[in-house]
Amino acid sequence: MDGQSGCSAVPSSLWLRPLEYFTGRNNQKMRASLSLILVVLGMVATCNCYAEGDPASGRQKAFTCMGCHAAPGMRNAYPAYPVPKLGGQNAAYLVEALKAYKSGARNHSTMHAHAATMSDQDMEDIAAYFSGLTKP
């Protein structure tokens, strides 16, 4: 062994060739498209938007939620506190909350049991339903 890693047996120019294909000065078109790809990826990565939920579908899926969340004066037991108002809440927050219940980041046995059965789309739909309700 000459003290170098196995990879270095390949001429370094060969390894760099794909990179040169994108960055080479003579290849303006590829450089432009690479920039475009990076910009689009950046936009996707930083996008705070959520897949649109369907409130009509959410209404069906929220049927079991209503047993507690649509009952005025309903309280959580042990410890006792009122169940939160969901009408008019932000959809993105509701999705975050359901995901946290599902993962266990929010510790609540009943809500975990419900959220664990939900897909991401279910959460979006339910959130769209509650956030879209008009205040009576």
Partner: protein, 111 residues
């Protein structure tokens, strides 16, 4: 009879004191909410969709939420930092402030 009057007035004092503590102080809450407003707004309306609206939320639910953030039962990196130094009275006051903003939240009705 005299003893009964003294005992009942003492009980009354204790009761009003505990109510005041339990309910929190809206004005004190307003002052303490200065760090909350960048996300939850002065009016309790979230400044970004991922931040919850608080305006009109149940007082005791919000106290519970703050306690859970502090204990870790609710694991949220942002809120954890804010609640670390809150006392029980602080939580009561903050909940008093946001629960009494003009409500955007409501209990939905079964249609």
């Amino acid at each position: 009879m005299k003893r009964l009057v003294i005992i009942s007035s003492l009980l009354g004092l204790v009761w009003t004191y505990s109510m005041a503590v339990a309910g929190g102080d809206v004005e004190a809450g307003k002052a303490k909410a200065q760090v909350c407003v960048s996300c939850h707004g002065t009016d309790g309306i979230g400044t970004q969709p991922q931040f919850p609206n608080l305006a009109g939320q149940h007082h005791d639910y919000m106290v519970r939420a703050l306690q859970d953030y502090k204990s870790g039962a609710r694991n949220n990196a942002i809120m954890k930092g804010f609640v670390a130094n809150l006392s029980k009275a602080d939580m009561q006051d903050l909940a008093a402030y946001y629960s009494t903003r003009e409500a955007v939240l409501f209990t939905p009705k079964v249609e």
